[in-house]
């Protein structure tokens, strides 16, 4: 269709021996982080049902490999910015689940002192710059962060995540044009989970191969398998390298699937079948990773079970921490609106 | 726990009190019994004591404010404690707006006895002012700018008399500043003196007495030669503590009342109450009013004691230091204007009593005695009686007794 659009890792789709070079520690850590995100999200759903969490809650269950694979492929001082389905990104980046759960609880100990909530996770100390809740609103921000990298001639990259529906927003197109025009080191990551809320991609986008949407800006499009953490890892590695060395943007479509509804109040049976969800669950990124670790004898079943138990404990402690934290004092209401 | 300090009931008849002076400041510690403020009631200026221990957190009623009994005047609590709950609560508590009801504060009015002087036609008749401010009234609402209202208040101008020149007849600053009351040929100069609380109480209570109690009057002339000699002989013993004619009259009244208990009574609507005690009120004129301190159980006290107590009470009254129990509960009142060279007069009954004695001067006059004309010393006394309690004959018998005692006062020394 275009010179710019390429499909890279989709053909691999495997868990090949070449990934053993990442080393046992990193592989186990990636697996553990995916499990941590899964358990954290399951607990968040439970806490939501117990009314400990309010507002909107968009779970990352099913998409864990995207955040974990992409974070594993960049450096600690690189930047990342995402939309409102942001729990996985913050956890993958290493933010303490205690602080995140406290934020979900609206407590003063939360990452944003109870002012952000689920859709606005920030951890500036880890260059995780949000958590943005207007669809497409964060895309110019990520572009601006990349602008700063270039302005300061830094050896960094900015991962700018978005959902599949954001590609139809004007900010997407304006940003891609600016990034291409000014050659900015940004990787635009479209987490294509096939539905923008209840609207399937083919009902929203004239061109459903979203990685091709960069064509008109001369931005190379790539696609990766979001249920395979290594596919994500490889694609980000390549895009980040291009950003660092050539200061060029990339549009990366990562095909993934959310196992839960759009938000907690989403009766997803309206727009997708149970059968479809069950089929996608066969490709569960965590199960695939687990199988790989066992088959390649990187970890034993006992070690896998221990990880699960340890992660459950971390999540339980996060809930306990959030529960025991205090509400924001009323005096804090006017804090952090202006820098004084 | 913050505590409300409310306007206490400091007199039997008070319905509200005015804060004259705060003796404690916000933030000061107070203990039970400490005097924290002076309060003017309808009768007297009273010391107001704290009942609890704590820090005065907030003064709600300012000096000059009038507050009904039970109204919040201050908040007591622990230092630094938040008084806002009580204060918010108090927002619904009635508190008279001193600024709306009076033009100047009575404390000031007493000090400067003359208020602002204006002239206007026929002040006693509420005629429409020549400068009819009808245009400023909209369904009874007076239209005036906030500034104009404030200025009028500060200058003691009745804003209803001011003609508005602003939009739709609104009274504005220049109207108040340029306000000069219309002077006509029949104009009488006058001074408006705002009512003190005492004046207000006198006006209310005596008007009520005059309306509700059907008064009738009996006058008698008393031969005073014996009384004069009696007093002189008594006063020989003690030059410093002279017994006054009034002391003798009080004692005589006590004796007469003892004999005619139906006069020592009160009307209660469905019954008449006759008192066993004889408590005599003595009308004392003070600045801007009068008050009747009570000489309790006058029938059981000797003249010397009566005299001493009466003197103390009069001093207390003039200093406005009377305590409520010292000016309430009288069963009969004596009002003596003899020192002003008044021959005789009628007094309004001091409610809820049934009678009052008005006493005139002792005068020398020609009298016929045993067919012989000579110069005698006479005093005229007038009894005002409440006809609901006392009939003419009873009043006359009482006067007979009184006259007899006064004409033979030596019996009083018994």
């Amino acid at each position: 269709m275009s010179d710019y659009a390429v499909e890279t890792n989709m053909s691999k789709g495997s868990f090949g021996e070449e990934y053993l070079s990442l080393g046992r520690n990193k592989l186990v850590e990636m697996f553990r982080t995916m499990v941590l995100i899964r358990r954290f999200e399951e607990m968040a759903a439970k806490m939501y049902s117990m009314q400990k969490i309010g507002g909107f809650l968009h779970l990352y269950i099913g998409q864990e490999a995207v955040a974990v694979g992409s974070v594993a492929a960049i450096r600690d001082d690189d930047y990342m910015i995402t939309a409102y389905r942001d729990h996985g990104h913050a956890i993958a980046r290493g933010t303490d689940p205690k602080l995140l759960m406290a934020e979900l609880f609206g407590k003063y100990t939360g990452t944003s002192k109870g002012k952000g909530g689920s859709m606005h996770f920030f951890d500036a100390s880890r260059n995780m710059l949000g958590g943005h809740a207007i669809v497409g609103g964060q895309i110019p921000l990520g572009t601006g962060i990349a602008f700063k990298i270039k302005y300061r001639r830094e050896d960094k990259v900015c991962l700018t995540y978005m959902g599949d529906a954001a590609v139809n927003q004007g900010t997407f197109h304006e940003s891609l044009n600016l990034a291409a025009l000014w050659k900015l080191p940004v990787v635009y990551i479209v987490e294509n989970n096939l539905y923008g809320m209840g609207t399937a991609v083919d009902r929203a986008s004239a061109v459903t191969e979203l990685y091709k949407r960069g064509c008109s800006y001369g931005i190379e499009g790539m696609v990766a398998d979001g249920m395979n953490v290594f596919s994500v890892y490889d694609a980000i590695k390549e895009a980040a390298k291009k950003a660092r060395e050539l200061s060029l943007p990339t549009l990366l479509e990562i095909r993934t699937y959310r196992f839960r509804g759009h938000s907690m109040s989403d009766p997803d049976s309206i727009y997708r079948t149970k059968q479809e969800v069950e089929e996608e669950k066969q490709r569960d990124p965590i199960e695939q990773m687990k199988k790989f670790l066992l088959e390649e004898k990187i970890a034993t079943q006992k070690e896998i079970d221990d990880i699960d138990a340890e992660v459950k404990k971390v999540v339980a402690e996060a809930v306990e921490f959030a529960e025991n934290s205090s509400e924001p004092p009323l005096e804090s209401m006017y804090d952090d609106i202006y820098v004084s | 726990m913050a505590i409300k300090i409310q306007m206490p009931k400091l007199s039997d008849t008070m319905s509200e009190g005015r804060i004259i002076k705060w003796l404690k400041k916000e933030g000061e510690k107070v203990g039970p019994g400490d005097v924290i403020a002076e309060v003017e009631t309808d009768k007297a200026n009273m010391d107001m004591e704290a009942y609890d221990e704590g820090t005065l957190l907030k003064i709600v009623a300012k000096e000059g404010d009038r507050v009904p009994i039970g109204g919040l005047i201050a908040v007591l609590g622990e230092a630094g404690e938040d008084a806002s709950a009580i204060l918010n609560d108090a927002a619904s508590t009635p508190k008279k707006d001193s600024t709306r009801e009076t033009i100047t504060e009575p404390v000031e009015a007493r000090q400067s006895s003359v208020g602002n002087v204006y002239s206007a036609a026929a002040p006693t008749v509420p005629t429409p002012a020549p400068s009819q401010p009808a245009a400023t009234k909209d369904n009874g609402r007076l239209k005036a700018s906030p500034l104009a209202k404030r200025l009028a208040q500060e200058r003691g101008i009745d804003i209803g008399e001011v003609k508005g020149s602003g939009t739709s007849g609104r009274i504005v600053r220049r109207d108040v500043e340029g306000f000069s009351p219309v002077v006509s040929s029949s104009a009488a100069k006058y001074t408006d003196v705002p009512l003190s609380m005492m004046r207000e109480a006198i006006a209310k209570r005596l008007a009520q007495s005059n309306i509700e109690a059907p008064h009738f009057f009996l006058t008698a002339e008393v031969k005073m030669e014996n009384a004069i000699a009696f007093r002189e002989s008594l006063n020989q013993f003690d030059e410093k503590n002279k017994i006054s004619y009034n002391d003798i009259i009080v004692k005589a009244c006590a004796a007469a009342l003892k004999e005619h208990p139906q006069v020592n009574a009160t009307f209660l609507g469905d019954k008449i109450r006759m008192f066993s005690n004889v408590h005599i009120g003595i009308a004392v004129a003070i600045d801007d009013g009068l008050i009747t301190p009570v000489l309790r159980d006058a029938d059981k006290k000797g003249l010397r004691q009566i005299s001493q107590e009466a003197k103390e009470l009069a001093v207390q009254a003039r200093d406005r230091k009377l305590k409520p129990e010292e000016y309430s509960g009288s069963t009969f009142t004596v009002s003596n204007l003899g020192m002003y060279d008044v021959d005789d007069f009628t007094a309004i009954i001091n409610p809820p009593e049934a009678a009052i004695l008005a006493v005139g001067s002792i005068v020398e006059k020609p009298v016929a005695e045993n067919g012989e004309l000579k110069i005698g010393k006479r005093m005229r006394i007038t009894l005002s009686s409440d006809h609901r309690v006392i009939d003419g004959a009873l009043a006359a018998r009482f006067m007979q007794t009184l006259k007899k005692v006064l004409e033979n006062p030596a019996a009083l020394a018994l």
Partner: protein, 334 residues
């Protein structure tokens, strides 16, 4: 003091601050090669190069958002909108991102940026290009809104805005870019959030800002011929509004007329009038008057346009009404 234009004053502020701090850059349409649509950025490209003076495509949402992102990570962008009318397509970036970033991140991030350009009407630009949008931005906690009305204020306030760690909406006016005024030589700044009394008077307080300051000063001259001394108070910063000097003035004059080029409904003028009514109630001898643009989209016709905008005559009439000298009772509040 040298006399320079409002435009030159802004240009000096930009150049001085870019010289002072290399994290400051300018992005916007026609700011570089073209030397600025209104020549405010004249010469900056030559002085600071294309990496710091950047021509943007017509993508206000894109480059405004880019500015927010750059500010989040330490730069100090100056985003020039050719006029504030075009900022409307970047509204989400300004309101949801710039204004709320610090709050939503619990104080982790700040957005030190300036969004500047001309606001309000010019000459016969009709409905979409003749809007005073300060009320929109002033409504939002997290933004500062600055609207200078003289060259001196423009320079001193723009320098403060660039140094401010918060997003500042800096609204200029096309009509007064050529206005001349004395500007101090050498380095100076004027603090954001300080109201200034531009003319002393005892009879009536007239609050006016930005382009309307000049209109109000003209009205004051007319009033002076009638012996009426108007006090002209210029907030200069709309948010945060320093209302104390306004209230002090009203306490002195007892009457207040508020001038705004914006529409009357739910506007900055209403806010100022509300504060005066609320905080100086007992000092008012007349209801506060508001002289705003008429409540219509701006028509193209020169005659209509002139009559939509506040004029010295309208201001004089309003002053006469609050002084109860009006021969025009038609617009009383009753």
């Amino acid at each position: 003091m040298p006399e320079i234009t409002y435009r030159e004053a802004l240009n000096q502020a930009l150049a001085e601050e870019m010289e002072r701090d290399d994290s400051v850059f300018i992005v916007g349409e026609e700011v570089a090669q073209y030397q600025g649509a209104y020549k405010v950025t004249q010469g900056l490209l030559q002085k600071f190069g294309p990496e710091r003076v950047i021509d943007a495509p017509i993508s206000e949402s894109g480059f405004t958002g880019l500015g927010v992102g750059a500010a989040m990570v330490g730069l100090r962008p100056i985003v020039e909108v050719m006029t504030f009318n075009f900022s409307l397509v970047a509204f989400d970036q300004i309101i949801n991102n710039a204004a709320k970033m610090r709050h939503m991140s619990g104080g982790q991030l700040k957005v030190p940026m300036v969004i500047r350009g001309p606001n309000g009407s010019a000459h016969q630009l009709a409905a979409t290009h003749s809007q005073s949008l300060e009320s929109f931005y002033s409504h939002v906690p997290g933004l500062k809104v600055v609207m200078p009305g003289t060259p001196k204020d423009a320079k001193g306030l723009l320098k403060s805005a660039i140094r401010d760690d918060n997003p500042v909406i800096f609204m200029e006016s096309e009509v007064i870019y050529g206005m001349k005024g004395e500007v101090p030589e050498g380095e100076y700044t004027i603090p954001i959030g300080k109201t200034d009394v531009k003319r002393q008077g005892k009879d009536v307080t007239i609050v006016a800002y930005a382009r309307m300051l000049g209109v109000a000063l003209n009205a004051a001259e007319i009033l002076a011929k009638d012996g009426i001394q108007a006090e002209i108070v210029d907030p200069m910063t709309i948010r945060p509004l320093d209302d104390e000097p306004i209230l002090e003035s009203v306490k002195k004059t007892n009457r207040c007329v508020v001038i705004t080029e914006a529409w009357p409904f739910a506007g900055v003028g209403s806010e100022i009038a509300f504060r005066v009514s609320s905080k100086a109630f007992d000092y008012l001898d007349a209801p506060v008057e508001l002289v705003s643009s008429e409540d219509v989209p701006m028509p193209y016709s020169k005659t209509l346009e002139h009559n939509v905008l506040p004029t010295p005559e309208k201001i004089v009439n309003a002053a006469m009404r609050v002084l109860y000298n009006s021969k025009d009772p038609g617009k009383s509040e009753d």
